[in-house]
Subunit: 338 residues, 4 copies
């Protein structure tokens, strides 16, 4: 039932798009860890709206307020609660959608799940706004991991089907077109976590792949995830896909290539963890769509108003880093590697 | 740390490839549910080895023995334990690999994770053999779901990069070639769960996508998962990907197409749940590969002996069904839909 | 590692005595439940300090602020977060104890547990102040249960060893004496939960006794719990202790007496749940005590300053009700009785 | 819903009194731990029936069979499954009770909880027989703890209200009388866990008291638990109950007395953990009792046949040790103290 994740380090996310605040509670953090609030703010800003013409114009200072668990800039070891006030809410933008679920959104499924009592405004608890809380937790995790030498970096590889390195101009043009038309584009984000020690994770249901996938699907709009060669591996032979082992000059076991994405049998190999996530196009589009009026029982048409991103992938990179960091930190804690 | 999954219905898997038995404990099952052992055996046989030339020649009767929780063919509501004895084990096949991890396997990562105390024979707890236990649990879940009208069906769509419907001959030829060469192929399995009620699942971290992904990555060799349009959605526009809602003739809210794979915001929409999983090629191949000798510190070459499948995807369909069934049953129990 | 409890309805408590706020997140609440904030405030006031000469003079308005999960006075079904600002904090009261753990408090154990990084001021996360958050969660649970006919009521039966009904004068005198001497008294609280349906709870580790005990020990100063006849049952014969069953006039199975405290084998019988909790004397006393200076390594003497209750049991009744309500609500949700 | 306990080391118990076997799965054990099966058998024998005239005459060899997770007498780190076959079952003993719940037993509550599908024979999953599985898990935990210097010992202090040291003759006489009359007696068990490191456990809901209580209530017939001075503390003043700290000659922080039972604020102090559990009289008695016939709706009288202990406390000591060991091991694992 829960909006929580983690076993030894557990993150619980609360809030709705238009509630008083969104936030998170993070239990089990090691005590004595410095939390650099400037760095946290900078990290959270990477997902914040209003930075460019291509992101929603909703302006939120997204100021994280520490409610507990951090004293004099250092973790106490007790639950950290950070909240972010919702300030620039315009509920009237959502009056129309009260009974008319937006295609591609969680409006209809939440309506059924919560018997109509969900906060429909701005998608409520399913809003992308909740990723501010995810990034607050992930930002702290990233700072702790960084001190252990673990670096996590996510970047966009594709927008609207175009490789952003090889087809930069095409991707850019597609974005402009989508924006002009009130339409949107999907994208692919790749994430690398380097220098995670070997031997982290568990077999069967609590492997690194299982748990990273579980966390990453917590980011709205993610519809797929693959590790290492992923779906490409399905078209390979075993001799192509298997990564040979060798001892490197320091006597460490390594693999020459990394089709396994740093994870074998759910457990880290010491190679860089690599995964890719598919982000669907922002479902909020200005184009006319068909929907239903749940109050009247009529089929209707809808044009979603409000301030939306033509490509949510542009802001999702820190969210992906955050999700990965939370899981890796949790598993490292469990293996006593913090 | 655990080989367990589920919140209201919880499955714990135990066993090693060459331990006395593999098995599972399933807690939280509704009482009074008939368990048809013949149907369960038939389901488990779909994953069992030895059925054709293309699967491993290890012969296991895979006879599930009920230890608890089922009386007179009906669930008591208390934990069900089923074990499957390991009979046809030939540990000597694995003497060589004790110190030489097989590329693409969990041998090395388990060695690090467990400080060398893992049961290396046949991959130990990370062996595909453990999916017999998964299927025992999943088979029971499927029987219960079937009585609620939920049908789950997984099928192979690609082998070695060939669509098995459109390029049947090519796929078959590639399989023969891989087998002849002691090589292996990957594949893609698609799974559909129809008639799952709308409103099942949770936002953020415990959505249906999160939890199905977590369970499916519990099957060895899975390296990717996507729901609905999945990675294809990343190349679409919002107007292409969004599934319009409409009232059907019975007054039910439906979508015309199903790019969302039956899940929006982690919660079921009532449309068929659709996902695809990428299966890497069986890592056990007879071809020479490079590896390391962990005892001597030398780089070595290895040729994996034993009885192995040229394409593990051929036996993985019931495992995927089992994983999906366990998660859907758990979430339906949580929403009081059983 | 966690300050959380519950499976289907999960409460996570955060905050320190002198952090910005204390609060709680409550996941899994049924949607559409009215939350009467006036009733909640009234309930929380029962544990609030400053109501009489016998409770600490720390004045806190204890105003619960809803951050999420409640819209227009009704639960959305998504996580409810309520925070209570810490206003009247006087950290200087605690300067002395930074390195000198107070006997009977968690200062020393927290120091070891958190490597000295715990917030020592006022007991930090282990402070009785955190029960404000417990009562916020429990108060909501009580309102929901009340609508299902379940009533939970805790009351003091003993103070300082005196039965407060039979030895009222003696108890009162002992309290006055303790207060005058800067000393404190323990007490016993009894709690009754009536009209909990039969068949709630689970065998072995997740029974009602297990889970109520786990929750009640979350209240600082509780050192024992017993259900029904409890420790008295240990001195009985089976024929004395066993509660005979009979059909009442409505055809319900009942017991004539209730030595079993409404729970048999972890599962409710339909009789009133009855338990008693032992509350140790408030550890903060003005009398001189021996302790250690962790910074200097010297044995020292300490006289605890600050504003403290001579008998914490006086304020603990709503906390006991809250703990019981959270557990009963969680188990009723699991059995679909909400 | 579960018959499981633990966070980092998790024990799941399965079986019914008359199912094929009872057993347990233990996840998260450290790898490389020797499991001495002779010592385990000896430990399990302490709870086994048939050792004297005062325990049930049911004869069970109680032979633990390792199904997984232990290779060459050493833990692999993967789930350990041990089962104990039920051999000497006489289901016909229980025919009568199918519809007539035995007073003091879980028959009626299980009937309601499981809609009549519970295995009523011998109490099913709620039978004391399940403590064989608890002891198998606890016995392994005790062996691991012993290697870390932690010793856990439980012993009876009272039988039928008589102190067994001071009133030995009276206790013995009461036992004989109870046996002769087909009646039974309760008792009190005290348990000490020495040399548990300081700083183990968590505040609020996951403290050592919370979790030991939760585990100990998993033993049938336990109706109360108290730590340190427990209920006696409720009659003390703060200056009597508070345990002063001092540095001992080795520079360790100690307390002179141990009213706190080795736990302050849920966290261990380094002093011996001490708790007492109240065991109700064996509910199975040969004396006539009133009950109900659930099939006919009539009030009836019942005389419980079968082979039963006049005082279950006599066999419960290893169960209490087992429960404590499982919890302490789990918490030590979480704090990296294994």
């Amino acid at each position: 039932m829960s909006s929580s994740i983690g076993n030894n380090i557990r993150v619980t996310i609360f809030g709705e798009s238009h509630s008083a605040a969104v936030g998170m509670v993070m239990e089990g953090l090691p005590p004595g860890e410095k939390v650099d609030m400037d760095a946290l703010r900078a990290f959270m800003k990477r997902r914040a709206p209003g930075r460019s013409e291509l992101t929603t114009q909703r302006k939120e200072p997204d100021e994280p307020e520490i409610l507990s668990g951090i004293k004099d800039g250092v973790t106490c070891g007790t639950p950290v609660c950070i909240m972010i006030r919702n300030l620039d809410t315009r509920p009237s933008d959502y009056d129309e959608i009260k009974n008319i679920p937006r295609p591609g959104h969680a409006d209809y499924t939440s309506y059924v799940r919560y018997g109509g009592f969900n906060d429909y405004r701005g998608g409520g608890h399913s809003s992308g706004r909740l990723t501010a809380a995810l990034c607050a937790a992930g930002g702290i995790a990233l700072q702790i991991l960084e001190r252990r030498g673990v670096a996590i970096r996510a970047y966009i590889t594709e927008i609207g089907g175009f490789d952003i390195d090889e087809d930069t101009a095409a991707a850019s043009e597609a974005l402009d077109k989508a924006k002009a038309e009130g339409n949107s584009l999907g994208g692919i984000i790749e994430c690398e976590a380097s220098c995670v020690p070997a031997g982290i994770g568990d077999p069967i249901f609590n492997g690194m792949e299982n748990d990273i996938a579980k966390a990453v699907f917590g980011i709205p709009a993610i519809k797929g995830i693959e590790f290492g060669a992923g779906f490409r591996a399905a078209a390979m032979t075993g001799s192509e896909n298997n990564d040979d082992f060798f001892f490197d000059q320091e006597g460490c076991v390594r693999t020459l290539i990394n089709n396994h994405g740093g994870i074998l049998g759910g457990i880290t190999s010491g190679e860089t963890i690599v995964f890719r996530a598919a982000i669907k196009p922002t479902p909020s589009i200005a184009k006319e769509q068909r929907s239903v009026n749940l109050a009247t029982g009529e089929n209707v048409s809808i044009r979603v108003k409000g301030r939306h991103d033509p490509c949510i992938a542009l802001r999702a990179c820190p969210c992906v880093e955050a999700a990965a960091a939370i899981v890796i930190l949790d598993h490292m804690a469990e293996r006593n590697k913090l």
